[in-house]
């Protein structure tokens, strides 16, 4: 471990968290590289969490220019015009994030990552995307899967009082201690595309209704060519029609995707800060687990609905990858 010991500065700063996950895990975190794309409130929370945790670097991608609309749930943007005037979301968030932990390298990458090649993604240990279309999610996920090393892939979306998170760790092996013994664990994850292709009827009976509702809206945006998050209550009829079609194709009763739930998702389209904090926190924990190799990662969807207060894990995978 020579030359790889934590510095005195790191030991002092990270003392309280080293007591949670150990010095070894902390070392692994400090060598990791994270790519983050789509900087709304939830992802801002996530970035804050991993910067504090002491990852090696965070690369931010979001070329959208900061407007008043970006402000509400994103505490990384200071609302003074000369602070953000003309800058992109990535640039503004980068400046703020650096302050949280000078030992973490925070940088901006411009461009559409769907066009980037394999060499780009290979630099990273984990990729997190948000606010992007179905097509882009699938594409980026595939790029991660084609690499020689494993790159963990995550997506998050929050709408109003609900949030969804997806994890793909591909073929994940890790060890843990159980009663004096070390056990080797292995979990196989489906890609996003594989997961959402699992016929609805094949899923366990009590799967969260939020899963289906999010898929309906996702499909709607895809079919109608909408920007992610743009679907609103004005689209209610269109969305309900699509729900009917999807349910018929999947032999699922329409009551499994209640009107009230869809309407909530279509009405509160903006992020709700407490939900951003919750989803950003869970996502942070998951990425830390995957990078440090410590702790059971969740498979493969996480849902939160402030209405019932449940934070729920759903395993949406085909028979070959069902754990």
């Amino acid at each position: 471990m020579d030359g790889e010991e934590l510095t005195e500065q790191e030991t002092a700063l990270y003392d309280r968290q080293i007591r949670v996950w150990g010095a070894d895990a902390q070392r692994r975190l400090s060598k990791s590289h994270i790519l983050v794309c789509g900087l709304k409130g939830t992802v801002a929370e996530f970035c804050k969490n991993i910067v504090l945790a002491g990852v090696g670097s965070v690369t931010l991608v979001d070329d959208r220019v900061v407007t008043d609309e970006s402000l509400p749930a994103n505490f990384l943007i200071l609302p003074h015009e000369n602070h953000y005037n003309g800058k992109t979301l990535a640039e503004v968030c980068c400046d703020s994030l650096k302050e949280f932990n000078p030992m973490v390298d925070v940088a901006v990458e411009t461009g559409d990552i769907s066009t980037f090649g394999v060499e780009f993604f290979e630099k990273f240990d984990a990729v997190i995307i948000s606010c992007c279309s179905l097509g882009k999610k699938k594409l980026i996920n595939q790029k991660c899967r084609k690499l020689s090393k494993r790159v963990a892939f995550y997506t998050v979306e929050c709408r109003g009082s609900c949030g969804e998170m997806f994890v793909d760790l591909q073929d994940y092996k890790y060890s843990k201690k159980k009663l004096e013994e070390t056990i080797e664990c292995q979990i196989e994850y489906p890609s996003f595309e594989e997961a959402i292709s699992v016929p609805w009827r094949a899923l366990p009976r009590r799967v969260s209704k939020l899963y289906f509702a999010m898929r309906v809206i996702e499909q709607f945006e895809d079919v109608e060519g909408r920007n992610p998050g743009e679907t609103s209550i004005a689209d209610r009829l269109g969305v309900l029609k699509l729900r009917k079609e999807l349910c018929e194709t999947n032999s699922l009763d329409e009551s499994q995707i209640p009107d009230a739930l869809l309407e909530r998702l279509l009405t509160d389209t903006r992020e709700f800060p407490p939900v951003c904090a919750i989803i950003g926190g869970i996502l942070g924990q998951e990425v830390i687990k995957a990078i440090s190799g410590k702790g059971d990662p969740l498979k493969n969807f996480f849902f939160f609905d402030a209405m019932d207060g449940k934070g729920l894990i759903e395993d949406i995978s085909g028979p070959s990858t069902r754990s």
Partner: protein, 632 residues
């Protein structure tokens, strides 16, 4: 908000983003380096400044138009009285100690203001909502007090490392570097009490013209050699226990070696003085050998006398005092070695001695989000939807965040239901002082008590008391209960009040002659105030860590520290035993089946399926194996 630390920073940020416009925040602490891994509103440059004030400034940067009023103060101060609390719509706690939580609970009850409580430890967290008359108050379910250990376990028969730490910190360190006038149990329980108590006065004092090296070895030999031999001479003690072995410095560190260590001080300031640096021991996660621990012991002692002479006689253990931590670690390890207990690294020892709570940013962020959701419901008077939420490390029935309906108030709660408690005590032996310190303050959580029997005031604390009354009360403290001006005997009923908390409690007194020294070291037994079962060493509600006082109570019990295993707490499990009635069960016509989760109540599980052993051992064992690197 009460607390601007781990939960506080996340909470203030989320409140501001969620549209709250008028926030007051109380916190007595200043910022430390170890806070910066999660209290993200603070920077390195803020170390030493008030948490409440810096948090406010940081949040105003991204929400300049809201009002945040900071108080760098202790929430127990008299200005934070019931009238103060009445000004607010909701109170949100982000505290780290039981004492303050109980205090705020009582004030919120008195002011009839809703309270949202919370706590986190590592990956675990919880949020609870408390409304007077509608839900349990914070004290309706018993909260375990900090672990204490019987004196003899600490002084004579340690079996765990934590016992060695308490010995090293509260006895040896206190004896050598603390207030000389303080009672100290360091030499009790030897078979030759009379001789040793006189002898001990000489032993721990440095003699005139005595070489510091010699003094150090003399102390070493006395506590690790002589005292152990004396303890061994009492055969009874060791009948069913493994015998310790005495350790003498000449056997561990032959004279020549220590002289080589000599002069590595590089003219550093008193604050930076460190035995580890002096001995080139770099890694706080290493477990030192007996030889290394002995070197650290002697070197730390030497450095205290050489570089920090002024402090000697005034010191209490402070986890941020490097030299103190080094000394305590070394002393505890040598004692552990003697008793066949596994040694620990400085990192681990510091955590135990300093009662350090392990903490990460993500759990605090999640809990803060959950708090705000409940706070909004409180403002909307959404009475049917309040929830308690548990944040789990391992999912239970797919749930990582588990909502539970709040329970009705506990009709036997002595805080919110004004039920009397009972006290068994030897009224002829126990003094009023013991009663006040150990029962009224420590157990019942009152800070400024007024004690009455009928119309007679036995004791009170206050600012406007007349001098002669103050004298009477002072005299009363030293009297046995039965000798008080208004004698307290079996059958007496005492009324105790804390005017600031606006909290009143009746205590029924029952005389009892004998108490078990080991099980009831206080010589008093309180019932009706139910203490949670202490079957595991670390049964604290999530997020309660610090013992609030460093000083030992006069000799009878010693405050214990956090066990070095990290365990799930009992409180989470308690919530799911389904014994108390939940709000929903009151309003529903048919009572749900209590024997298991029914299809109606599938989102309100009655039993928590925690695979206890697996959960407990995963983090702690792994962590230990990562940090145990023995040097050759």
């Amino acid at each position: 908000m009460v607390g601007a630390g781990g939960i506080g920073c996340e909470l203030l940020k989320t409140l501001a983003l969620s549209g709250f416009q008028d926030i007051h925040i109380i916190d007595m602490d200043t910022i430390e380096v170890s806070n910066l891994n999660r209290q993200f509103l603070f920077r390195q440059s803020h170390v030493g400044q008030s948490k409440a004030k810096v948090a406010r400034d940081a949040v105003l940067r991204f929400r300049p138009n809201i009002s945040i009023t900071p108080y760098h103060a202790n929430v127990k101060e008299s200005r934070f009285n019931v009238d103060f609390f009445k000004e607010f719509d909701v109170v949100l706690n982000g505290l780290d100690n039981l004492d303050a939580r109980r205090h705020v609970n009582r004030l919120c009850l008195a002011a009839d203001i809703p309270l949202v409580e919370s706590g986190t430890t590592g990956f675990l967290g919880q949020v609870t909502v408390h409304l007077k008359g509608k839900t349990e108050c914070y004290e309706c379910q018993p909260k375990p007090a900090p672990k204490t250990y019987p004196v003899c376990t600490i002084t004579s028969t340690p079996s765990k490392f934590v016992h060695c730490i308490v010995w090293a910190k509260d006895l040896l360190f206190a004896k050598l570097f603390g207030d000389k006038n303080q009672e100290n149990d360091l030499n009790v329980r030897s078979s030759d009490t009379a001789n040793s108590s006189e002898h001990s006065e000489d032993v721990f004092e440095c003699r005139k013209d005595e070489d510091i090296e010699r003094y150090g070895r003399r102390i070493y030999d006395h506590v690790f050699g002589h005292n152990i031999e004396v303890a061994l001479s009492n055969e009874e003690t060791w009948k069913n226990r493994n015998k310790p072995r005495p350790i003498y410095s000449k056997d561990v560190l032959p004279e020549k070696q220590t002289k080589e260590n000599g002069n590595k001080e590089k003219g550093c300031a008193a604050d930076d003085v460190s035995a580890m640096v002096s001995l080139s021991l770099k890694n706080p996660q290493d477990i030192w050998s007996l030889v290394e621990n002995s070197r650290v012991f002697l070197e730390a002692l030497r450095l205290f006398f050489l570089k920090r002479e002024k402090d000697i006689g005034n010191l209490t253990f402070d986890k941020d005092d490097q030299l103190a931590v080094e000394f305590v670690t070394a002393a505890a390890n040598i004692r552990a070695s003697s008793f066949g207990i596994p040694l620990h690294s400085l990192f681990e020892a510091k955590g135990i001695a300093g009662n350090i709570v392990h903490a990460v940013a993500t759990t605090n962020a999640i809990i803060a989000g959950l708090i705000v959701i409940e706070a909004i419901k409180v403002l909307q008077k959404d009475n049917n939807n309040y929830r308690m939420t548990y944040c789990l490390e391992h999912p239970s029935r797919k749930l990582l965040l588990m909502p539970v309906e709040p329970y009705e108030p506990n009709r036997s709660c002595y805080v919110c239901s004004e039920t009397p408690v009972s006290l068994e005590v030897n009224t002829q032996r126990s003094k009023l002082r013991d009663f006040v310190e150990k029962i009224i303050k420590a157990k019942l959580g009152m800070n400024f008590p007024l004690i009455m029997q009928g119309a007679s005031i036995l004791y009170e604390v206050g600012e406007d008391l007349e001098e002669d009354m103050v004298a009477i009360y002072a005299a009363n403290l030293e009297k046995a209960l039965s000798e008080l001006p208004s004698p307290v005997t079996s059958g007496s009923v005492l009324t105790v009040e804390d005017l600031q908390q606006e909290f009143s409690c009746s205590i029924n007194i029952k005389h009892r002659e004998e108490f078990d020294e080991e099980k009831e070291p206080d010589g008093m037994l309180l019932s009706g105030w139910v203490e949670a079962p202490v079957d595991k060493d670390n049964n604290k509600p999530i997020g309660n860590d610090e013992s609030t006082s460093n000083a030992l109570p006069s000799g009878e019990t010693l405050e214990g520290e956090k066990d070095d295993e990290i365990q799930e707490t009992s409180e989470v499990v308690e919530a799911f035993t389904g014994k108390k009635r939940k709000l929903s069960e009151v309003s529903e016509v048919t009572a749900p089946d209590p024997s298991g989760p029914s299809s109606i109540n599938q989102n309100k599980p009655k039993k928590l399926d925690i695979d206890d052993e697996a959960d407990e051992l995963i983090i702690s064992d792994d962590w230990e194996s990562l940090t145990k690197k023995k040097k050759l």
